[in-house]
Subunit: 316 residues, 2 copies
DNA sequence: TAATTTTACATAAGCACTTATATAAATACT
DNA sequence: AGTATTTATATAAGTGCTTATGTAAAATTA
């Protein structure tokens, strides 16, 4: 029982507000999912700044028809996020000319695929002929209530990226990527031991030459994730380890793609099972392990990694 | 150059917000114009309270899908305006049951024609078939930019009321209306003199029997305004005086309707001119006098009214 | 050239929402 | 019956806008 809908044209103002607020909130969730420090309400301003390369406060104000203090405040927010920089106008000392910063341009590149997907999905939802504005709103709200807007957008983006992800095997030129991808989470969560340094610096020596395998996720010719299968003991037991995804590419299910590939590979080798060691602070990783069928088993007192407090296995 | 429009589907969220905010603001202007102490954002809540006769905070919340604090705050606002009253639920002591107050019901009666007009105009603007939501928004915004929404609504209501207004001549049964209508503004702006009391209490004696005329504006069988033409001296000079409109019916151009009728009447009597005395604080009245062609002339030192500081005449 | 008006931007406070949290009463669980 | 959970409402603080106002520089006018 949606009272606002029952009011028809009379409730249009409140109705528009409700839909708008919903979409803003959901868009925020999408930005959060992809770890982008950006707010939906900043979108119109930031897009103008990005398009025009050098605008003033009042130029934005005229283009958007918000009040001038609203623009000033949003600009301050963009500046606080480090997305824009100012230059003083030489000819008119009152003016502050606004440009996207380097970080701003990087953020923009991350935002573009999201904006593209939003545009696509909204078109799917609203490019329909109808006999009134209210009917169009009904259609839109019905679609939004079936599946949340954020989920739809996130899935759409993940699917698109997923199609473009290619899994490749180790080559020497990827050694540096292997190091960089893994050192990031090691440094962030734990202390990097000398043994870590060795294994990450010389994967050829420590993994490949011992009969192990390293796979990489490649997106647009860029290495964005990795995982290794390392033999332990000499009974054909393999450990899944050194899984990492670039911070800029989290949220695209790249970890899951690597995991699926590793499992398929292990099965094709007729391995009886895979084991892995992890730590309970690595919640996202453990979520993936569980999702792909790994079950927690007791960890031996002298486990090979000091930092591990969880051992899991996947029996085929 | 409207950047938001240029963004198409991508800018939908911001776009909806903009249209919504515009309509809210304009609706506020309409309420202000008709001297109704009400806010557009209170509309959905107040309509539920009015329809259901006895609702709780959380029932409203479920019907509108706002957050519960939003409802509590709006209810407090409605209460502060005196539009609602509470009763405690006997069975469940947590609940506060909300009803419209007497003032609330009165306000509701004033709001209904406005809501009716808003619904009608929005239907005119949006009951059109189009191939996308954005196109519908374009149509709506184009129409809103041609003539402000508030002006359109106010004119529509004024026109409807104007058609229903009937001007009638003095009868004894209207004497009380003549008194009440005039005493209101006299008390509000000035001090009521004994002579005022006499003339307002006995219009028959002081105006009609001396060859004067009194007209009344009648709306739905209710007297809502008045004006008098009073002879002064014995050279056929008439003074336009005692013009008043009920506070509940201001904004409907009733004063202008009475003025037009008086002028037509004076012309039909072949009067050479009309004069009037007023005071500069009565800005709305003077606006009407000027609009209908009255010109300010020097006021005699011993004018008949202590409170007058302006004298005007309209020569035919 | 001096005085006035306009333009560009900033700051303060208010408003209608939000999230987070508190409190009391009713209901469900064991 | 006693305890935990849920429900109904209130309060506090934050957010993105608004209006109102201030300040400095530029443009216009006298």
């Amino acid at each position: 029982m949606d009272a606002l809908r029952g009011y028809g044209e009379l409730g249009l103002g409140s109705r528009l507000k409700r839909v708008s607020e919903y979409m803003m909130k959901e868009t925020q969730l999408v930005y959060n999912h992809f770890n982008i420090d950006f707010d939906p309400y900043l979108f119109p301003m930031f897009k103008i700044i990005a398009n025009k390369d050098g605008v003033t406060n009042s130029e934005i104000q005229r283009a958007l028809q918000f009040t001038q203090p609203a623009i000033t405040q949003s600009i301050n927010k963009l500046s606080a996020k480090g997305l824009i920089i100012y230059k003083d106008d030489k000819l008119d000392k009152r003016k502050k000319i606004i440009y996207p910063s380097n970080k701003g341009n990087k953020t923009l590149e991350k935002l573009k695929p999201i904006w593209k997907s939003i545009d696509k999905i909204i078109k799917e939802y609203t490019l329909e002929s109808s006999s009134s504005l209210i009917e169009h709103l009904n259609i839109l709200e019905n679609k939004l209530s079936k599946k949340s807007f954020s989920t739809t957008i996130i899935n759409d983006i993940q699917m698109k990226i997923s199609q473009d992800i290619e899994i490749v095997s180790f080559e020497n030129r990827y050694a540096k990527n292997f190091y960089n991808l893994n050192i990031e989470w090691l440094q962030r969560f734990f202390h990097v031991e000398p043994y870590d340094e060795s294994i990450l610096s010389k994967p050829e020596t420590y993994i490949i030459s011992k009969g192990g395998h390293i796979f990489f996720a490649k997106l647009n010719n860029q290495i964005v994730g990795t995982v290794a299968l390392m033999p332990i003991g000499n009974e054909g037991l393999f450990e899944l380890t050194k899984m990492a995804v670039s911070p800029e590419h989290r949220g695209f299910k790249i970890g899951q793609k690597l995991m699926q590939y590793s499992i398929d590979f292990a099965k094709s080798m007729n391995l009886p099972k895979l084991i892995l060691y992890s730590n309970s602070v690595l919640e996202n990783a453990i979520y993936i392990y569980r999702k792909y069928g790994f079950i927690e088993i007791p960890i031996e007192p002298n486990s090979p990694y000091k930092r591990s407090d969880i051992k899991m296995e996947l029996v085929f």
